[in-house]
Symmetry: none
Subunit: 276 residues, 2 copies
DNA sequence: ATGAAAAGTAATAATGTTACGTAAATTGTA
DNA sequence: TACAATTTACGTAACATTATTACTTTTCAT
């Protein structure tokens, strides 16, 4: 949630930003405050605080406070202290893994189940799915392709922006695309999505809350991870994105019932001869 | 908090016990309920619920809810239970994430730090590194390539077995290869590694303990993940492999000192213009 | 200058909390 | 044992706080 506020901050309205700053400055205090005291601290009106909460995908102030509280609680369990140059290899490994776990816990707490169900429904109405991502997100897109094509519909992943554009132009209203981006601000992916929308394809995104990409998507899965700790290696956001898409894939498989289960088993047996 | 309720339960008054039972029966639901709905569910009055909260050292219902929420967020059970077809989307997501976390914890417990240091040392003596993996492991290999080429040495990933063979034949004793495989029994990857060894390259593997692949490698990172639970989607072993390689990459970067840090920062700035 | 978006005011609804009274249980005394 | 006296448990209803909605004013961009 804290990461979510940080990444959404710039996309918020002026007085909502004031609220964001107040909360970020003292998260622990905020979870115990009423709407009134936060409004006063930020010198804004109370409805503005509510609007702020809504902008962060919460239904109201209470839910916002609960989520924030949970975020703070899980922060304490797995310290994601940054790696330093004088760590022993054991400390290093522990820090990295704990950081990864912390971001998974965050995903668990912030995942929007409505989005999940919407996405599943959209998928069922489509006859093909394409995954777009560049750089690190290209890995996630490919991983998703592997998962999804076992579900019985054509699934493709493109990393090259030019090919993404070309492919997006050829979609129709029975197509679904999944745009994956850490920041949600990559020009290439935004352009790709615009083209896909012109083709009337359904757009799912896996990116930062309130980012330009999230705003133009039909359904967004918010994945917000602290930038700071990514200096050495941006593995955390990638893991988070992968797990979100895994949940989506499994959700679809489960909805598909017995039939789809057998399909999955068949896909697995098909490669058995490859092993000693 | 849950434990607290349980142990305090018998010392509570009769109607407060009813409240305790309601909360214990559905803690997740309770944190989202109002005092009223809990009172109704327990067939007691609202003040009784407050008294119940006070008995648990909370100043009011709100504080109780916050504490309970934090408790739930940080409860570190993470026991993996298999996904079933009648899970709600929430249960499903929770199970998948818990499974992923469980496998991370497993990595943390079984990671061999000696192997880590050996691998770092081997890397320092090499002037190039290649990653080989097929199927799901190809994703991991590509991810590793992204991480490692920022460290200043040529890094390549190959998914195609034929190309792997060809490339492995062209290595020398200043080369390092990383073979990634879930089972460690893929004929293709075993063949690739044999060729690489003939070329005198150093062989690191990320695979199952005691598997054929592990046995013929110079250094192995054991990654063992339950097969059974992979029916729907084999994301867990992939996450585990990725995190192991991330630890290796960060370990190398940290050993590289200030110089390498600047290199990483440079790599990051180079793509800034891509964003809006 | 006009319209759309943003922020605030004031009324309303909901929720939590307190004060008080009644019923039940407990204790002491005849 | 019976019957008050006293304490404890619980609920009712009034109250206060807090969140939310509807509406108005302001601000900004065109």
């Amino acid at each position: 949630m804290l990461a979510k506020i940080k990444s959404a901050r710039d996309a918020l309205r002026k007085s909502e930003q004031k609220v964001a700053d107040v909360v970020l400055a003292d998260p622990d205090g905020s979870v115990q405050s009423s709407i009134q005291s936060i409004a006063t601290k930020a010198s804004v009106s109370e409805p503005t605080v509510i609007r702020f909460c809504r902008a962060l995908d919460c239904v109201g102030f209470q839910q916002f406070k609960l989520r924030l509280a949970q975020d703070l609680a899980s922060r304490g369990t797995f310290f994601y202290r940054d790696v330093t140059t004088d760590d022993t290899s054991k400390e290093l490994a522990t820090k990295i893994i704990d950081g990864a776990i912390a971001s998974m816990v965050q995903v668990r707490n912030q995942l929007n189940y409505e989005s999940l169900e919407q996405a599943i429904e959209l998928f069922e109405g489509c006859d093909r799915i394409e995954f777009y991502g560049s750089g690190g997100s290209a890995i996630v897109a490919e991983d998703a392709q592997l998962k999804f094509f076992r579900l019985g519909k054509p699934a493709i992943a493109y990393a090259d922006p030019h090919i993404q554009h070309a492919s997006a132009a050829l979609l129709d209203n029975k197509s679904m695309i999944v745009a994956i981006s850490h920041s949600g601000r990559s020009k290439d992916i935004l352009e790709t999505v615009k083209i896909a929308k012109q083709s009337r394809a359904k757009v799912i995104s896996v990116t930062a809350t309130k980012s330009p990409l999230a705003e133009i998507s039909d359904v967004n899965f918010s994945v917000d991870v602290d930038e700071d700790s990514d200096i050495f290696s941006p593995v955390k956001s990638r893991l988070a994105q992968m797990i979100v898409l895994d949940i989506l894939a499994v959700g679809i498989a489960v909805k598909g019932g017995e039939e789809m289960l057998q399909q999955l088993a068949r896909a697995r047996r098909a490669i058995d001869f490859k092993f000693v």
